[in-house]
Amino acid sequence: MIDVADVKKSFRSGERTVEALRGVTCHIPKGRFAFIVGPSGSGKSTLLYLLGALDRPTSGRIVVSGTDLTAMSEAEQNHYRRDRIGFIFQAFNLISNLTAVENVLVPYLPRGLTPELERRAVELLTQVGLGGRVDHRPYQLSGGEQQRVAIARALIKDPEVVLADEPTGELDSKAGDEVYRILRRLQAERQTTLVVVTHDRRFINPDDLVLEIQDGLLKTDESEHQRNLIGAEV
């Protein structure tokens, strides 16, 4: 499903070059719930964003369902992000000038909306428990509710992969539980592949795939490697 081969990513900031990723290779099978964990600054977000084609790796290859992200044109990247990937971020996710339902429809605003899309957006909001809040602006919603709108937005395209960067980072544990309940249900019902960056190991289940990054390199211990293999066979 997702194949990452020797991906390196370095940033130039002034004179210095920061090597955020120094040769990461991994495989995430379809339908798995994968976690990226590691200390702050280890390169977790960088890897996640590269999976979503938000930037290009300095070297290496990333292949998602047979498509090589590194060989994509700018326009293909746009389509990839719009149609195949759902993003959820820690915060600052929603557009403040749009209502909840319009935020869910954001990917389709440039092309124009259809009644079918609007119906689906309301349905998704209802599924995440916000059926009565469709016309509310982000400032009228709590952090947890905002995050659920963002999840609905990630799901409206029925994505192959959902990428989430610390989706519960700014939520209390109850709101965090709610977010993970929705994501788990998504994995169970639609076999969506999920890649989630987190600091909070509470939400990791025993049969999840855990990718541990340190200093821009993947550190896969024996037991996780074991689970990895089992996961690949499922």
């Binding site: 971020f89 600052f92 749009l98």
Partner: protein
């Protein structure tokens, strides 16, 4: 997406309003200047189109008031082939009327009223025109008699008025020279004209050409004017000449100037041409003003849009991660500033309409600001172009952002 852009403007009302004011004012200025130049064009065009003959006066003088020619030039003019009627005229700036000297009035306005008022009273200075009544009666195109018949009252001068103190004045002058009880002078009322030797003149008619340049003339018999102004029998100011064939004005004028090198035969086409040269300079000036306004407007819009896009980088990052292309972001921001431009244009048009209506109430007398339909189009066009151009650079910057960097700005 249009609605989204619209809402983005409305959520920052103060900034949007300031940007609108900043763009509306130069656009309003542009509309105002064009309106004024249109008004001037109409004024002069209206006036001169009414005059079909040719004015013969001394070479190189700005106004008939300063011209003097020997009376016997009349015979020489009649000898030029194509000339039909030669009507001698005496022109001077009027001496005191009802005890007010026009020079004094102008000077005092200059001191008390400032430039605009003095300018107006300069244009307002009453002139005396003495006409040779029998020949003037033979003219095809008499501006004063025809306007008197159309909109005036009383009667025009007749040959029997020769040698009498009877005058025809404009409606405007009738309001300038009030009767002792404060009401405008009318037919049958008297004017006292003269500095030392003051004489009474009876108003027999009131004309109204509607033109600022013509409605300043007190018309009387040429003999009466000579006595009043001290012009001797062998001198006139100008000759008003009509041709047998009015379309041959220019040709005959040339023939006149050839026969008599010390005179100018000014056909109205010539006046128009001179005026055209002046107006084309005014137009260049207008064009420069427009460009300057455009520049100021663009800079203002760039500033506004840069501020607004800089603080929304994260938002653009979110849009990009959701599949918006660079072009989509570019279109959004450009649409916002184009909307700004459009609104500024609409506001300017409304204000220009209101302004012109109000100003025209007050100026009256000939000069009217015009507001043709194309001027609205121009105003809206300029502001739309300004808005769009001013938005392009901020939009380009917003769209160039790498989505990953934009997201990072928001999450740390």
């Amino acid at each position: 997406m249009g609605r989204f852009a619209w809402r983005n403007l409305l959520t920052r009302p103060l900034r949007t309003t300031l940007a609108l004011v900043g763009l509306s004012i130069p656009i309003l200025g542009v509309i105002g200047l064009f309106s004024l130049s249109g008004g001037l064009r109409n004024l002069v065009g209206d006036t001169l189109n009414k005059i079909q003959g040719v004015m013969v006066m001394r070479d190189n003088l700005p106004s008939p008031v300063f011209s003097d020619l020997p009376t016997n030039y009349g015979e020489r003019l009649k000898a030029v082939p194509g000339v039909k009627v030669v009507a001698p005229e005496v022109w001077k700036i009027a001496p005191s009327v009802n005890g007010t000297r026009s020079f004094t009035r102008t000077a005092s306005d200059l001191i008390t009223g400032g430039g605009a008022k003095a300018m107006k009273s300069l244009l307002d200075m009453p002139l005396i025109q003495g006409q040779d009544i029998p020949t003037h009666t033979n003219l095809r195109s008499g501006v004063y008699p025809s306007s008197l018949k159309e909109k005036g009252e009383g009667r025009y001068l007749e040959p029997s008025d020769a040698g009498t103190n009877r005058v025809v004045i404009s409606r405007k002058l009738s309001k300038d020279f009030l009767k002792p009880d404060g009401t405008p002078s009318g037919v049958g009322d008297k004017l006292r004209i003269g500095d030392k030797d003051v004489k009474e003149f009876e108003i027999v008619g009131i004309y109204d050409t509607g033109s600022m340049f013509l409605d300043v003339v007190i018309v009387m018999d040429i003999g009466t004017a000579r006595k009043l102004l001290g012009v001797s029998e062998d001198q006139v100011s100008t000759f008003y000449v009509e041709m047998t064939d009015p379309t041959a004005n220019d040709k005959v004028s040339l023939a006149i100037e050839k026969a008599m090198p010390d005179v100018d035969a000014r056909s109205m086409n010539e006046f128009m041409a001179n005026f055209g040269v002046i107006m084309s300079k005014v137009d260049i000036f207008l064009l420069m003003t427009v460009s300057l306004a455009l520049l100021v407007g663009i800079v203002g819009i760039i500033n506004t849009m840069l501020m607004s896009t800089t603080e929304r980088f994260v938002e653009f990052g979110v849009l990009r991660t959701n599949g918006w292309s660079q072009g989509n972001v570019l279109a959004l921001v450009t649409a916002e500033s184009a909307f700004l431009g459009l609104m500024a244009g609409a506001i300017s048009c409304v204000m220009a309409y209101a302004g012109v209506t109000i100003i025209n109430q007050f100026i009256g007398d000939g000069l009217r600001l015009t507001l043709p339909f194309w001027l609205f189009g121009l105003g809206i066009g300029i502001s739309l172009v300004t808005g769009t151009l001013g938005g392009l650079y901020p939009a380009w910057r917003a769209s160039k952002l790498v989505p990953m960097d934009a997201i990072r700005l928001g999450s740390h």
